[in-house]
Every structure is written in structure tokens, then in C-alpha cells.
Subunit: 298 residues, 2 copies
DNA sequence: TTTTCATTATACTGCTTGTATAAATGTAAT
DNA sequence: ATTACATTTATACAAGCAGTATAATGAAAA
């Protein structure tokens, strides 16, 4: 039963939030969710994989909501980005996943550590793409530095902000503060041509893990985003547009959330998409289809 | 034998660097340093306390060198600060203590976690003091934010710089880059009166841990620094001055590094200090003596 | 020489993750 | 309804961990 598996995930997440990852033993999870050891290891090959399952089950939702905020919007609008960051911060606050990740990042489980590192890099990469949207191609040489600074800044300001419960300021204030810093910083470093890390470096990050834990989802995400943008500019608001977006979202979810994506569904929906919209945005649909195929053939 | 104890510390440190804290078992340390379990637990009450011993044995040296850089120098000189940071970064690189701390920060050992947190706060507090020296009292409301940003920035830029071994840039370049950012940032936030965390917050950090692991050393460090500054301004360069500084350094070391500071030594040296120099800098000597006494009477 | 104290070897407790296996239960097709 | 298959359970087990306990050994101080 998939339901019972999800139950275990939820129970374990709750326990991890309460006591931490290491301090929560599998025994705790067994009694907490009322299953036997055999069932547990039937669901998850190890404690680390359970954590990954928790992480995925939570972040697929957040990532989805975060990307939805961009639909029908100007991707250069800094306010949208701020909303996206706030969304993620609130999600992290509730799920405590960032804290748990810190704990797991240094555990003995090599696979788990790799997974966490990859998600960190993915997050950096996403942010870099958004910074490109916002600050423009001309600032690109400085945007990897900037993203790293922004990421660390917001994490630590948030940490210290919550150390003292009495005076904690709302998250949005911290985001705006950090964003103000970045606006100025990017201007300065561009003026002085100060660069530490070349964004081209990111290309060397990803080949190694392309076909690992998040096999091709990254490509798919990009293709999806591009396609949505194209649709938003090519079509006026209305039923047609929303229908298309719904189709795309469904395909994306099916590919990313299911272990066995139903190919017949995807093919059918893709055909609908092609016949209905292909004329104006053919090139985007094609690269979308390409990503789909690489996802299916992994 | 104190020598053997230090041997164990060194061996354990080497093993921790190679395999990490958690992945190194006490058994590994036993065979590595050729002692038996009984002896180990005779030296250290637990694995966590061994780590603390390693940390102290390494950082007392770095802290000492770092503070020495300030003697006879203008504390507002930004170049000195950069040197101090570089010193610490090189020390961390060699000892990998920052990596180990990350690992230990989230372990199950509550005492150890507390110790690590305290050292982090101490480090932030020291940096805040230095920022005050450099940027002046007028910028104080913005300096806690700034220090947190600087600290996280330099840590993460360094981390990503060393991810790709092929293109790692020298530490000093990263420090200068981050420092440039801070110079501009502090100006901006002061202009816009943007503040997230009030530096007064720091006062609430420390009472709780005053009499714990670093009982009174913090006070002593401050008193020592102030006294040295006073001496540097009150006396011309020459034998007198260096002699005084030597005396002070010795007292500080004896109090902070030895488990059983030799009171008779300290009293004698203090007396010398008083008769030779008291006239011009009496008030500083008095607060120094006060710190000493609180250290001795813990 | 005897006392004292650090050290050693060894066994033991109680915890951990993960494996193995036989019995019991549920479920779906015939 | 009965057969066949999959899931679940209870339980014992292996190998590892930190830390405790203890009796025997050594060496230096009294």
C-alpha cells in the first residue's frame, strides 16, 4: 500500500523534526508508525533512503508552488523572486528540512551526502538562473559569486534571527534586506570587474550527477519553464493558455514524482499539446519532448 | 605523562582529518596511538571531550598568533584585520577544524554541540569588536549584521572555491573580495538605516555560558587586549614596552592553557607589572587583575 | 621493600543499523 | 471457495558503536 509508505514517511519526518535525524532510531520509527522491521526495509532500503524520500516528498510540492509563481509573470520582476524565496523559507521553517540537511550533510552515509550536495548545487543553479532573469546577461560573470553570497547570507541571517525567539523579525524583512545588499553588490563588482568564481564552473558540477539521483529532471524543469514562458507570450490569457499549462504541469509531475511514469498518458497529452499549439511555439515543444524522452529512457 | 596525552590528541586529530569525527571510532584511536581503552578513558571522559581538547590545543595557538598581529599596530588598520583572517583561514585549512566542527555541530553529544555554538558566538563577537575598531562606533548598529554576513560569506566563498581544486584561488583574494563587499555594505546600510539584528543582542548570548566551558577567558582576553593597547599608546617603543607585553602574554597563557595555573607565578609577575608601569595605565591593570582573579576563583 | 598509581587486557552492557527466516495474514484470480 | 501469491510480522541474529568494570601487570616513589 502506497498509503502506508507515505504514513511512514510522515511519521519519520515528524520524529526527525522533534529529535533530529541521528537521534531518531529506526526502532523509534517502527513504534511510531506501527509497522514491523521487515516492512520498513521492504519500503526503504536504508535509513538514508528514507530521508531522501522525505526530502523529495516535501520539496516536489515546494518546487512546484515556487515555479507556479512565475507563470504569467515577468521573470525579471524582483518581487516575484522575493515571493519565491519567501515560499521556500516558510517551507523550510515548517519542515525543518534545512536543519536536517545540515545534520545529514556530514553523516556517515556517503550516498546521502552526495544527494544533499546535489540538491544544494541544484538550488544554487536555480537561483543563478533567476539572477540571470533579474539582473540580465550583462552581469553574468558576477552572478555565481552573488548567488553564493546571497544563499549563505540569507541562511545565516535567518539562523541568527531565530536564535533569539523574542525578537525574531519576519522572514520577508530578511529577504528584502539581503536582496538590497545583492542589488548594490552586483553593481559594485560589475563596475570593478571583481570575480572569484566563473559561472562556467557550474557546467562542471552537473555532468557527474546527471544520471544519478535527479537523473534528467533538471533538464525537464528548464524545458518546462521555457515552454511556459513561450506560451505566456505567444497566447493571450484565456482558456487555451491555462489548458496548455495544466497539460504541461501534469506531464512534469508524472515524470518527476512517479517511479513508473505512465508513458501512454504522456504521449497522449503531448500529442494534444502538439496539435493544439505547435504552430507558434514549435521549437519549445520540441525541446520539451526531448527532455521527456531522456527522462523516460534513463 | 602529559606527553602521551598530547600524543593521543595529535593522533586523533590526524584520524579525524582523514576520516571525519563520526567515522573514526575510539578503537581506531586506540590502535593509532597504541594505548588501551582504560588509558583513553583515563585521559578523556568521552569522545566529545577529546574533540574539545583537540580544538583547544589547536586554537589557543591560532588565537595567540592572531592577537599578536595587533600589537604595536593601529587596530583600525584594515590590512591587519585581513592578515588576522588569513591566519585563521590557513589554520583552519590545515587542521580542517572548521569541517570537523560542521560535523560535530549536529552530533548527538549535547555538551559538544554547546561548546561548538559557544566558540562560534565567540568568533562572531571577536569579529564584531574588530569591526568596531575598523569602522568606528558610529556604525555600531549595523555591525552585527555585517559580521554575520562577512562570516558566512567568507566561509561559503571559501567552500566553493575549494570544491573545484583546479581553479582554487588564494585565500587572500577571497578575503579582500569579501572585505570590499563589507566596506560598501556597511556604508549602504548606515545610509539607509537598515538593521536586522541589534548588536545589543550579543549581551544576551554570553551570560549563560560565562561559567561553562570558557569560563572567564573571554573577559581575560578583552582585558589583555585593552591593557596592551594602553601600553602601546602610553609607552614609546623599546625594551620596557616589549617586556611588559611579554609579561602579560605569559600570564594570559598560564591562565588559559594550564589546567592548574601557578598562582605564585602570576602574582609575582603582576606585582612587577604594577610597580613598573602602574602610574600611567593603572585603570587597565586593575581590570586586568580583576579578570585574573575571576579566572583563578572559578 | 612495600605502597601507590597509571596502564593493560578483557569481558560486559546496551545501544545502533541492517539481515535472515519462518509463520501469519491479506488479496486477487481461478 | 479454494488456490496462489505478496505483504507483513515477530523474532533471532550479526557486526559495530560508546562507555563501564575489574583483575592483573608494571614501574616508580615511600
Amino acid at each position: 500500500m502506497k498509503n502506508r509508505r507515505q504514513d511512514v514517511i510522515d511519521t519519520a519526518h515528524k520524529l526527525f523534526i522533534e529529535k533530529g535525524y541521528q537521534a531518531t532510531s529506526i526502532q523509534d520509527i517502527l513504534v511510531g508508525s506501527g509497522i514491523s522491521k521487515g516492512t520498513f526495509y521492504n519500503y526503504f532500503p536504508s535509513k538514508g533512503e528514507l530521508f531522501i524520500a522525505i526530502f523529495r516528498s516535501f520539496y516536489k510540492r515546494i518546487r512546484h508552488e515556487r515555479d507556479k509563481l512565475l507563470i504569467n509573470q515577468d521573470s525579471a520582476d524582483i518581487e516575484i523572486f522575493i515571493q519565491q524565496i519567501e515560499l521556500q523559507m516558510m517551507g523550510n521553517k515548517q519542515s525543518k528540512l534545512l536543519v536536517l540537511i545540515e545534520e545529514v550533510r556530514v553523516s556517515n552515509d556517503e550516498e546521502l551526502k552526495q544527494f544533499i550536495n546535489q540538491t544544494l548545487l541544484l538550488s544554487i543553479r536555480w537561483m543563478h538562473g533567476r539572477f540571470l532573469d533579474i539582473f540580465g546577461e550583462s552581469k553574468k560573470p558576477y552572478l555565481l559569486d552573488s548567488v553564493i553570497i546571497f544563499h549563505s547570507m540569507i541562511t545565516h541571517m535567518n539562523y541568527f534571527n531565530h536564535r533569539e525567539t523574542t525578537v525574531a523579525k519576519p522572514e520577508i524583512q530578511i529577504i528584502r534586506y539581503c536582496m538590497n545588499r545583492m542589488i548594490h553588490t552586483i553593481d559594485e563588482v560589475a563596475k570593478g570587474k571583481e570575480q572569484i568564481l566563473d559561472p562556467e564552473l557550474m557546467d562542471t558540477w552537473f555532468p557527474e550527477f546527471k544520471n544519478h539521483l535527479y537523473p534528467c529532471h533538471d533538464d525537464l524543469l528548464n524545458a518546462t519553464l521555457e515552454l511556459k514562458k513561450a506560451i505566456n507570450t505567444a497566447f493571450p490569457c484565456g482558456e487555451n493558455r491555462t489548458r496548455a499549462v495544466e497539460l504541461i504541469d501534469f506531464i512534469q509531475d508524472e515524470l518527476m514524482q512517479s517511479d513508473n511514469p505512465r508513458e501512454f498518458l504522456i504521449e497522449s497529452l503531448l500529442a494534444t499539446l502538439k496539435t493544439g499549439y505547435a504552430s507558434q511555439i514549435q521549437v519549445y515543444i520540441e525541446s520539451f519532448e526531448e527532455s521527456i524522452n531522456s527522462c523516460l529512457s534513463r
